[in-house]
Amino acid sequence: MQTKGRFDPNSPQIKAYEKELAHQFVREGTMVAFPMCLPGMTSPITHDECRITALDIDSEGHIYGGTSGRQAHLFAAAFHDLTGVVLDAGVVPDGTSSVAVCCAKSRVLAFVNGARGGRAIAIPEIDLAQDWIQEWGLAPPVLQDLGECVPREPVVHAICDPSRSTVIGITTGHLFTVDVESGKVVVIGEVSGRGHLGMSSSGVFGQDEGARLWHFDLASGKIRRAAVDLPEGEWTAALRWSCGGDTDQLITADAAGHLFSFDENKGFRSLGKAHLAPVGPMAMIPDGRLFGFCGPEMANLFCCDRISGSVSNLGVAASVLEQRRYGYQFGDAVTGPDGEIVFGEDDNDGHLWLYFPKIKRVTRNL
């Protein structure tokens, strides 16, 4: 059976389609895929051990993260000043899945699951602020295993408290805290251990059974189950929260891609809907725009502009600077000091993807 094309190449529909195709990759801003090494000088983290699933950023703008795969690695990265480097801080013995990295005040704690359970691992301070163009020098860091957080329960997520002296984490059944300085783990109580944690001004919110959130009050140390009802939506999947905003700027999404902001005093507010679901990592930049990935297998970047009220499709990630690469799956995100976003690629040979959003035009009346 032979078939010939049935279309008018000059029709408005076909011209519009051609225009769409011409902008199917990163329609706004610039993506840079950075390899997991000092480019040209060291080898990157092994291909099948380099799914980047956890990121955080410290007060210096240095990024710490963890990978998943055949072995979990922890790493540190910097992209400002004379840096441009990713350092492999080491392999976590028997670890296969990094679920959270928390840049605390005195050191970084990572939470890694594997054959020896869900463990807290301390990464020492790494001197990234060097001249990585000309001359550098440092000893390989030594990871410190702080032990299993809750016996026989994998860690699900963890975040720092506002003082960055305590980490609050959850396993599949419990909430725990870690004193960053001493490394002491305290199990606070039972919670429904699903999804990521969100930090508000009063404490931590996590996904409870049913369409509700539990709340952990930092001042009293008490857990309140079923503290908040989630708005109408599909709350069947594990929750994610955006990062990068202030503590009163929590944003999440339901399983259908509906986006909601959450303020513990005002409740939830609908922000629109991403064009694909599920919604993956999201990060907010200082002007209030939220960027994230949505869709399975081949995710699309989207932008939620809370001022204009629009949610737009920015296409598939692609990098033509530093490394030429398509980006399909992403595991976590942080917002950098200058409003750039760093996405961790959750794929074989994962890269750190720096996204520089398009600068919005400002009209000045002089």
């Binding site: 078939t3 076909i14 099948d48 690469r325 074989n348």
Partner: protein, 367 residues
């Protein structure tokens, strides 16, 4: 889209069947259409079956072009998937078909006959796929990189080899079920290239199966000889550029600078086709000959000496972009060519002293 076979009795081509119709994915579906087979013909010697898997790029019937990235999430437009079809060459009939890779095309295919497995590379996501012929189940082992390699090959230990887009060998080992990347790079021009885009274009096994000969899908492709059965990682011998010098300050058209069609003939020598083109500085090519030529070369594996054998001649079009080469049971050479409409096959009749009966054996098990 029809698979084509050279018929030696008629000295002509047989157009076998409409593949889209056979796999129940008609061109009128509104989805991206079944349109071609890339390097995805793989034989099965014990039963005479030829496996073939389709690639993508044909647009839906009412659109001028198709992008798998743009339409990935569009159920009405997205390519249904690479169709794997088993064709019984002894009885000229299609035995069965299956979807090899949903939503994606198959760039290249390999058959490990002893293990009953097909190996494939998906496009565009560049995932390594294993298909069990007994259970007819596929397994996705994961992503390699971004630029598709155009060939897979098998070593004596049933390990499968290909390449990443930064010019490294990729090895799949069945015992460990793991994809590993080599520390070393494939051959490329170190004067101005980094190894990026040095993915395999074509790989031919030596008759004794101790090594393979390969070219890359990269401007200024180098020929190389690789010894996969030696050492932790194979020795890669750079046999030098396959095509002429050129201006390295401007990126040449990839349909101009090309090498493919690697095959051993009955005389135990490697034959391949490399492009040659008129260049005012590097290759003035006097006379009124074609600007673009397809040159058949013969390489002696013992001495590595090369000699020009002949030019491929197309009556109206070009002959510089040969995809694959093969030798038949009589010892004559055949080269698949793309770049003209329709695509075609060149036959190079070999002189008697370079022929051998059953020269195609042992047969190449990958596309």
């Amino acid at each position: 889209m029809k698979p084509v076979r050279y018929n030696e009795e008629r000295d002509d081509l047989d157009y076998l069947f409409d593949l889209a119709e056979m796999v129940d994915d008609p061109g009128t579906s509104g989805r991206a259409s079944q349109c071609k087979i890339h390097y995805s013909f793989a034989p099965s010697m014990h039963d005479g079956v030829l496996y073939m898997a389709t690639h993508l790029s044909g647009p839906p019937i009412d659109l001028p072009r198709y992008s798998p990235w743009y339409s990935w999430h569009d159920a009405t437009r997205c390519f249904r998937g690479s169709a794997l079809l088993a064709f019984d060459t002894r009885n000229d009939r299609v035995l069965w078909w299956d979807t090899l890779i949903p939503k994606e095309g198959c760039r290249c295919l390999l058959h490990d006959e002893e293990h009953g497995l097909l190996y494939a590379m998906s496009y565009p996501r560049d995932h390594f796929i294993i298909y069990d012929l007994q259970t007819r189940k596929r397994r996705d082992v994961g992503r390699i990189s971004s630029i598709n390699p155009q060939a897979l090959f098998l070593d004596k230990r049933h390990r499968v080899w290909t390449s990443s887009d930064y010019g490294r060998l990729v090895r799949y080992t069945p015992e460990t079920d793991r994809l590993e990347i080599s520390p070393g790079l494939l051959a490329h021009d170190v004067n101005y290239q980094s190894g990026w885009h040095s993915v395999f274009y074509d790989v031919a096994p030596s008759p004794d199966r101790e090594c393979v000969y390969a070219s890359t899908w990269c401007p200024n492709p180098h020929l190389m000889r690789i010894w996969p059965n030696e050492g932790e990682w194979p020795r890669v011998e750079d046999l030098g550029p396959a095509t002429q010098p050129r201006d390295p300050t401007f990126p040449i058209d990839m349909f101009t600078d090309h090498c493919g069609g690697l095959t051993f003939a009955g005389d135990g020598k490697l034959y391949y086709v490399a492009s040659r083109w008129r260049d005012p500085k590097y290759n003035p090519m006097p006379g009124s000959g074609k600007e673009l030529q397809g040159v058949v070369w013969r390489l002696d594996p013992q001495t590595l000496a090369r000699e020009e054998v002949t030019l491929l001649k197309h009556p109206t079009g070009v002959a510089n972009y040969v995809s694959r080469g093969a030798v038949d049971h009589n010892g004559d050479l055949f080269f698949g060519h793309v770049g003209n409409r329709p695509s075609g096959i060149f036959k190079v009749s070999m002189p008697a002293e370079r022929k051998k009966k059953n020269a195609h054996l042992p047969i190449r098990m990958w596309g």
